[in-house]
């Protein structure tokens, strides 16, 4: 048994129970429905800005792009533009591909013995596959939730719902992204739990966001397909939040909704202080956002102090007379 994921799982379950009991038993609807979400948003905005500005201040002592191809060289050697970018434009393309397609995960390989005693490198695509499944379905789910936070509902949300629900199975209509989000998060979790090397390097901080997101997905799916909540009342509450006129709708909403909302609030507030900050950090990673052009442009380390130098010309100026007296050759007369 691995205590790292046990702690995280227990933490998430306890948080869920707190929200459920808080609303169902203690009647803290306003606390969990209004105060906590606003607090979470404020913590997120301040924390996120703080982190980014902190990173902005940090020095970049070296030019350290990690490259995966031929750098710009002689004119008859073809440069690999997006794996070893030379200009800012090429860096931008590389960043876009990295952020939208996760190319560095796609390149993942595993070392092992091939035939006999030969070292072999095997392409392993699973992490990339799970990651892209997870991130894109999460993105779609977040965008779809705009139907609760905007009135009138923007056209792209309707469009997304049409595509997401195109299978027309179940009622309420099954949204593929919700199922894929749960599936992707579970696969990422299983990867950490089942692979011994992954389990060895995984800490509670790795498991906690996964369990939290699984909790969000499970409660979300439950509210839609199983123990259904009244979606119109949910929208009344969320629109109250979005228009800064918060309130708890008449008749109340079941505790399950508040568990979902509490999980989301925790996730949002947790982002700036955790590994989830990679959503901002990926833009600032020096191994990706620098051009591989050190041979053409000098990169000056910002914390280099001014070095005192005494060049030969200065030396000669200082001692020219004495050098001439001693019969030493001088460059300038």
């Amino acid at each position: 048994m691995n205590v790292a994921y046990l702690y995280s799982l227990i933490a998430v379950v306890v948080l869920g129970l707190i929200a459920y009991a808080g609303v169902e038993a203690a009647g803290l609807d306003v606390f969990f429905g209004v105060i906590i979400p606003y607090l979470a948003l404020i913590v997120f905005l301040i924390g996120f800005a703080n982190k980014i500005l902190d990173w902005t201040k940090s020095a970049v002592p070296f030019k350290i792009p990690t490259t995966g191809g031929q750098q710009k060289s002689l004119s008859w050697i073809r440069q690999n533009k997006f794996d070893s970018p030379y200009t800012t434009g090429q860096v931008v393309v590389r960043m876009i591909l990295e952020i939208l397609l996760f190319r560095s995960l796609f390149r993942n390989s595993r070392v092992g013995f091939g035939k006999g005693q030969h070292i072999a490198y095997k392409w392993v695509v699973w992490l990339w596959l799970f990651a892209i499944l997870f991130h894109y379905s999460f993105f779609v789910v977040v965008l779809r939730h705009l139907r609760f936070f905007a009135e009138p509902v923007p056209f792209f949300v309707n469009f997304l719902e049409k595509i997401d629900g195109m299978l027309q199975i179940l009622l309420p209509n099954l949204f593929l992204s919700g199922v894929l989000l749960l599936g992707g998060a579970l696969l990422l979790l299983l990867r950490r739990v089942l692979l011994p090397k992954m389990a060895y390097i995984s800490r509670p901080a790795d498991y906690f966001p996964l369990f939290l997101i699984i909790g969000i997905a499970v409660t979300g799916l439950m509210m839609r397909y199983l123990d259904k909540v009244d979606v119109v009342r949910v929208k009344e509450l969320t629109m109250g939040l979005a228009t800064l006129q918060p309130g708890i709708p008449e008749g109340g909403i079941s505790g399950l909704f508040y568990v979902h909302l509490f999980f989301v609030s925790i996730l949002v507030a947790y982002i700036p202080f955790s590994k989830l900050m990679h959503m901002g950090g990926v833009f600032l990673s020096p191994t990706r956002n620098q051009a591989n052009n050190t041979r053409a442009k000098r990169h000056v380390n910002p914390w280099n102090y001014p070095v005192k130098t005494h060049t030969y010309e200065e030396y000669e100026d200082e001692f020219r007379d004495k050098m001439k007296e001693a019969g030493l050759p001088v460059e300038k007369e």
């Binding site: 905005l45 936070f149 905007a150 009135e151 119109v232 929208k235 629109m239 228009t243």
Partner: protein, 132 residues
């Protein structure tokens, strides 16, 4: 450093995206968007007083009842539905539901539009033309 401005510009764009609901509703939103639209009951619906289940249940479960009805009628040919209170109904959207709730625009559509639900009932079913 010259990157500072770029990073702050990116941060501002990100925050604008995150805060989309706040400025979107301020600019384009209706005044009382945090209260759900009222559904109107026809005289016939008012007179009947109860639907085929409790109002609370109907609010969350009506789509599943309809889904169930579709399957039992189309696949099993079963044309009676016994409600929880023992009353019998004909499982039919057009003939049973819309007999009372004949005002689709003021009953069905109001909540569906508010919650951005686009049911495909009316891909096949026709509904009575509403008169002014």
């Amino acid at each position: 450093m010259n990157d500072k401005n770029k990073i702050i510009a990116g941060l501002v764009i990100f925050f604008l995206a995150v805060l989309f609901p706040f400025w979107f509703n301020l600019i384009f939103g209706a005044a009382d968007a945090s209260t759900a639209p009222e559904t109107e009951l026809t005289d016939k619906a008012k007179k009947a007083e109860t639907c085929i289940a409790e109002t609370e249940d109907m609010r969350t479960e009506h789509m599943q009842i309809l889904d169930q009805w579709r399957d039992t009628v189309v696949r099993d040919g079963q044309r009676t539905y016994v409600a929880e209170d023992g009353k019998e109904y004909e499982p039919s959207l057009s003939n049973t539901c819309m007999d009372c709730h004949s005002n689709k625009e003021k009953f069905c559509d109001r909540c569906h539009n508010y919650a951005s639900v686009d049911p495909y009932c009316w891909d096949c079913h026709t509904y009575p033309e509403e008169t002014e």
